[in-house]
Symmetry: C2
Subunit: 874 residues, 2 copies
């Protein structure tokens, strides 16, 4: 028999996996002597058990909950369901990792028809009592019984309309009592039975609902994005209620110990008088800044400042706290390490180190690598911004600039957003259901809600630009228009947001990349000091190469030479090669490509200033270079002066049933060795030319793609070596160069020991390796992968985060075999996983020498590599 329930007095922060973050921190605050309304936590193991038991809370767990309830009653001196001295509780989710807003919460639980009267008498505040009951009915119905809350909002609106008032506060106790009757009637009409009066039934149903919410679609989407395993489950915290809505000496708020947008030290937050927490988070009323609490209630403010500081020092991190003031008494309802922007994360980490709270290594661990991406996100081009007109202002909730076409629903955003058609999502306010549409959008604009509203929190987490609480914007979802004063914007119109200032522009404004410095450079310098993995970039153009170099790349891990073949005259030359009938014709066509390709390589070598440049030889199947459409083929035939029928035949012959597994990669070099010969000439000639300039040494790395067999690699390497020797003799210049291979075919991984006898380096092409190891093509997997996520067969997109169990096994095997044959073999990764922090940690552990990723991910990779080394020293 396990222990499934812990009193707050029994827990501690180290039990986060068992109690969830919220539960562990409530226990920790209790231990620290902070004023915390007491309660207990139903563990994450109970949640797992609930799912194992086919979604049933078994007697054993129920009994534990009830036993702890009795203890809580004695701790609080109140009694569950006792009208004369009622204990009310909140029921909240709390997973191991923070998932703000993704799961469910029920407040005021324990009220029923009797208790509400007792509560009215006890507090001498009938209005408060019925307001609480009303809220509870709505929340319980919504969350536990899945009755749409619109049902109750409708009744509330009717009541206000009947009385002719605008705000809820316009309704008095009797109005609310009547409303409760109507609420209960509506509940019965929809649900078929009376609203449950037994508080224990309410409690167990609420716990179940929270467990259930672990598996709701938005939680699943969020977990996938954040890489949180489904198997963790959530804990449930049952805490005695304190009331921020007991009058004007009561209130509730949310505050950070440092500014979560900038990292600036000092209390930062908002509060609302006479309100419950949900009012602040939901963004329905616009709250006051926390600083005003000082004048409102200096004593409480001072106590809060002091305890907040105590918490920050204790956790050695910026804290995000929820508090309630009940009749002038301060309570802490939650504390956690606060979510923050990348800029804030960087500043806070550096500051905490300066303040002596963190070592360099610990400070590094406070910055999430993936987050850095934010800092590298576009800003408006200054000159373009100068000409633009601000049409409205909102709160600067998440930094960065966004420009895109206006859409009014998350569904629409999700459906139409693309690189070619960027969108900005405008909503009255957002809610957790909107998560997928928010991910798809360039920027998010809301008319209501503060900096801690759903839109702001989520956008910051994603690094998406967000302006919120922009009251000037009147959004009409029916007519798909947004009115700002007398301007009208329709769906599809251009709109731009500045998440750093809160400015809104009714036009398209060009964006550009960010300049970074200061604390960021400090963090990067520390990261470089700690990491053992090298970081390179995948770059095909001098522009990308420069960007990569500027962002700290220590080489290019992948030049996709075919990307050079698509421009102007090049595509013509490659097409000439494709239609060639003889080897000589092919060689002539390739000769036209040679100077262009040589020029490209020279430029790359110069940008990299002596860092290694790994050139991958032609990889895609040849049909990618010719048109497929009849009209285009006709035009091309004319242009190339060959009969349409012949060109058509050539193109038809290039057709492949499974192009991913077709005539591509080094298979092209085996059938047309002249391709490898030309590419070698370009690589070596360029290297010699640049080396002769005398500024730095150039040691080209030649990478043969799609190898599955040593002899195949040897065949191409022989071509390379012969050609290189010839070029060096012609140029009378000796140059070192290395020939290696991609490991992207399972067989190459299995036979890596043999291949390493000839290959001087391996670069794991984990995109193709993932496709072939799983046996599904990225282009086609979309049709079924959603069903795999839904059924929890996969929890991660294997193309985003490396599948360590399967694909990773091949990577580890190949690394081991390669090193066995050639102990100094250089091992890298150039698939998209090379920029994914979790995958980088894996690469570190697998003993790779470097990762290579897109230029903008280089800082992310540098930091992730440092994390990997700190967590797993090697």
């Amino acid at each position: 028999m396990g222990k499934y329930v812990y009193l707050f007095t029994e827990g501690k922060k180290e039990l986060k996996n068992l109690l969830g973050g919220k539960g562990a921190n409530l226990a920790e605050m209790t231990n620290l002597g902070l004023p915390v309304p007491q309660g207990f936590t139903v563990t994450t193991e109970a949640c797992t058990k609930y799912y194992d038991d086919k979604k049933v809370i078994v007697e054993e767990v129920k009994k534990e909950i009830e036993a702890n309830l009795v203890t809580l009653e004695s701790l609080t001196g109140k009694k569950f369901g006792d009208p004369n001295n009622p204990l009310l509780v909140s029921v909240r989710s709390g997973a191991r990792a923070s998932m703000p807003g993704m799961m469910d919460t029920i407040l005021n639980l324990g009220i029923n028809d009797e208790v509400v009267r007792g509560l009215a008498k006890l507090t001498a505040n009938k209005r408060f009592a019925f307001d609480s009951y009303r809220r509870f009915i709505q929340m319980f119905s919504d969350v536990v019984m899945e009755i749409d809350k619109k049902n109750f909002e409708e009744l509330l609106s009717e009541a206000k309309a009947a009385k002719g008032v605008v705000h809820d506060t316009g309704l008095d106790a009797e109005d609310l009592e009547e409303l409760v009757t109507k609420y209960k009637a509506r509940y019965k009409k929809i649900h078929g039975s009376d609203f449950p009066q037994d508080p224990k039934v309410q409690l167990i149903e609420a716990v179940k609902a929270v467990f259930r919410s672990w598996d709701n679609p938005r939680a699943n989407v969020y977990r996938m994005r954040e890489g949180i395993p489904y198997s963790w489950g959530t804990a449930v915290n049952i805490q005695s209620m304190v009331f921020g809505n007991m009058g004007d000496d009561s209130g509730t708020g949310v505050a950070f110990t440092r500014n979560p947008a900038t990292g600036e030290k000092g209390l930062y937050g908002e509060y609302l008088f006479n309100a419950q927490g949900e009012d602040v988070v939901a963004g329905i009323r616009t709250p006051k800044p926390i600083s005003e609490l000082e004048s409102d209630n200096k004593e409480v403010y001072n106590q809060f400042v002091q305890l907040a500081s105590k918490l920050e020092n204790h956790y050695r991190d910026m804290q995000d706290m929820e508090f309630t003031i009940e009749k002038g008494k301060l309570y802490f309802l939650q504390t956690r390490n606060g979510k923050r922007t990348a800029a804030a994360a960087v500043r806070i980490a550096v500051d905490l180190h300066k303040e002596g709270l963190l070592s360099e290594a610990d400070a590094l661990l406070k910055v999430e690598p993936a987050q850095l991406d934010q800092l590298l996100h576009p800003q408006f081009v200054a000159t373009a911004l100068k000409k633009a007109t601000v049409v409205a202002r909102g709160l600067n909730a998440s930094p960065g600039a966004a420009t895109g076409h206006l859409v009014f629903s998350a569904a629409k955003a999700k459906a139409i957003a693309s690189k070619a058609y960027p969108v900005v999502l405008a909503r009255e306010e957002t809610s957790p259901e909107d998560i997928e549409g928010m991910i798809a959008s360039q920027g998010i604009l809301t008319a209501r809600g503060g900096r801690t509203s759903h839109a702001a929190v989520v956008a910051r987490g994603m690094g998406t630009c967000c302006v919120c609480g922009a009251g000037e914007c009147h959004i009409d979802e029916n007519t798909l228009t947004m009115n700002i004063n007398d301007l009208v914007y329709k769906e599809g119109d251009w709109i731009s947001l500045d998440g750093t200032t809160g400015n809104i522009y009714g036009e398209k404004i060009e964006t550009e990349d960010v300049k970074i410095g200061g604390d960021f450079e400090t963090i990067m310098a520390w990261a470089d000091k700690y990491r053992s993995l090298k970081v390179r970039a995948n770059a095909d153009t001098p522009r990308d190469a420069k960007k990569a170099y500027d962002l700290g790349a220590e080489g290019i891990g992948l030049v996709r030479t075919e990307h050079m073949f698509f421009e102007g005259d090049r595509i013509k030359a490659i097409r000439k090669m494709i239609v060639s009938k003889t080897k000589t014709q092919r060689e002539n066509a390739l000769a036209e490509l040679l100077p262009m390709q040589r020029g490209d390589f020279e430029a790359l070598y110069r940008e990299l200033k002596g860092f290694p440049v790994t050139v991958r030889y032609l990889d895609p199947p040849l049909h990618e270079f010719v048109p497929q459409d009849k009209a285009d083929i006709k035009e091309l035939a004319k242009e190339m002066h060959i009969p349409f029928a012949r060109l058509k035949e050539i193109i038809d012959n290039l057709h492949e049933t499974n192009p991913m597994m077709g005539h591509r990669g080094c298979r092209l070099d085996v059938t047309f060795p002249e391709i490898a010969v030309m590419q070698t000439r370009a690589v070596i000639e360029a290297a010699i030319n640049v080396a002769k300039e005398g500024n730095f040494k150039v040691v080209p790395e030649i990478m043969i793609p799609l190898v599955s067999e040593l002899k195949e690699f040897q065949f191409v390497k022989d071509l390379v070596d012969k050609t290189a020797a010839k070029v060096m003799a012609e140029k009378k210049y000796h140059l070192d160069y290395h020939v290696g291979t991609m490991i992207e075919i399972p067989r190459a991984a299995l036979l890596a020991d043999e291949i390493a006898s000839q290959a001087e380096f391996f670069s794991f092409g984990t995109n193709d390796l993932t496709q072939m190891t799983f046996g599904f093509s990225r282009d086609d997997a979309g049709k079924f992968l959603d069903a795999y996520y839904e059924n929890k067969i996969f929890e991660q997109d294997p193309f985003k985060t490396l599948d360590q169990n399967g694909v990773g096994k091949l990577v580890e095997l190949a690394a081991k075999l390669g090193k066995a044959t050639r102990p100094d073999i250089k091992l890298g990764i150039c698939g998209e996983h090379g920029g994914d922090p979790a995958s980088i940690e894996f690469c570190h552990k697998a003993g790779l020498s470097y990762v290579s990723c897109s230029p903008f991910r280089v800082p992310v990779a540098r930091l992730a590599a440092a994390h990997a080394q700190i967590k797993n020293p090697r």
Copy 2:
């Protein structure tokens, strides 16, 4: 320094790898005291060295050859290049495995302008001397200098025409002397320098030519088909010449100790008086049966009979011998274990056991498993044959019946032959260049040549029907016609051959499968006694299942259920399922398929009489069930009463970029669980129905295809288990069944330990596993695989013989991991490799429980499994 040359007196049969088969056996015969013209063997290691040294025979090897030549001179008392007592030699290839006719031979080497005159004087036979010189010039020019032999044949024809004679024998000594002058002039004209007069130069060039011939295209094709590694190389035998063309007391021949077509005991062969060996093999003159030698020269015949019997007893196998009679003295030029038809192999093995020469196990090893296929090849349907008319007769060179369209060149045969367009190749005679066309043909017909001619030897080896030496057939390759008496057959006309009788029919005759028994049954019974691997068949229809059962299959290893979906109403039902918009529509469509599928399974269970039947669930992508052509889609739309545009859209949506890696296999069950539900219902209902008949127990095996992850397998298994439980409850009948998976995706092999926790059996789907492990699709690899074979990157088609290095590693790993989790896991293979003897030996060694192959391969597999066990006891 190695030893690269062995005198015949230094070798023995156990040195076959070093000396080649021919060299080892010449040494063995020498040791046995047989009359063997002496000589020496340049080893296979010298050949390998020649290739390693970039096609040069280094001094070290040359010197060894020369030293042995000196020894040979003292052994024979003759001298190389000495006109007064000249030593002439033959230079012949001889690889570890017999490759008849694939490599080159040069006879009469050592003749020059002086030696020819000495030879004339010495033999008092000027005609013989100049005939030998003429032959040598042609052979040396052709083989060593690559001068087309047509050049010389032309001169020979001119000489005969000028003299007005038909046969070579019509030319006298002076004619031949003049011809030699013309030959040398033609040589000089083409080659640019005089015909080499130094015998040592002739010798070294000839040795080089033989080494070179190891790498000629026909040898490469042959090796690939026979699975002989390129790395083995060939030895070269230099043997003093004896002359069968020294007059009518001389001759040459080829004989077997038993009939190579039937296995009957007794000398079987042919000889020609006054001829050299090439005349017999080339099929230019039609030789006499060996039995006539008895009346021609009783003494020599008796000596031959006695020595042949000695050889057979010594080698404990049927011998294939070449002999020459020089002026009444018998010489053995070669002996080897003779190639034979399957029927002969079986009979000989059984007889040799009966004669006490071989144990059962050794007798089994004498029958090549792949050969058995021949026995199972079609014969003419008796009733159809009755109505057919024999238009000509030839020699019954290789048994079996063939019917197909007439073609007149191997190239054409190779180009157009297919299942739908079977061809019969008709040639004046065949030569080693024709090998690929011969492989592609159903049958081979030649107008000239005996039972040991090229066509006959090769056809027997391949098990292809062959009728040769059919002099009535006049073949004109220019007009593409064949005249038989006054009948004219054009290219494309139907023709039929009976390789067992030698009959030729000018029409199509239906063929049917062979009945087998007697010795074959004995061999099969022994095989079953020795083997430890079980043998199952892949069968989709009751007819195939019956065939499999009759041929000894111990179960069905693979029922491809989709093959049942293509007939009549079934394709309609599956199409209805595909166009369904809702799950209910899909279920209704599937409900139509249920009774048909259940009926199929019932029939399969009944045919297998209690042996296991493994049903693989729907595997191919759905687009395989719908038309792609616009007109066909229109028709289907009409038939299905849905708008064309909608059907077109559905079909377009099914399109996949890489269908091999697309939405197929168990991925269909994850997205449309109702498919697995229907198939389970069909499997279990059928099993219960047949089990209730009470004749035998039925334990269905359900196989989930394309699994890459445990949870995916678990998802489908849950559907199976739930449905099976439901069906059993409905039918009130309990049945055992097993659920397992294909291992055909690399990831499944890597994670086989996890998957085995739920899967009760694995069946290796090595077709797909090969594709994904190599990263090329079978459909597309044709474009580049030829270049891979040409460049020796691959020596075997990995789809024919399992790639043990790569794919095999995954099979071994999965087997090991699977057994670690579930020690009693059943392991099988159902890819096409399951019927390939080399792959079967691998499966045996990898510890598999069974192989599954096409029904006709079952006997092959049974015997191969026995070989595997005898060679690698487990």
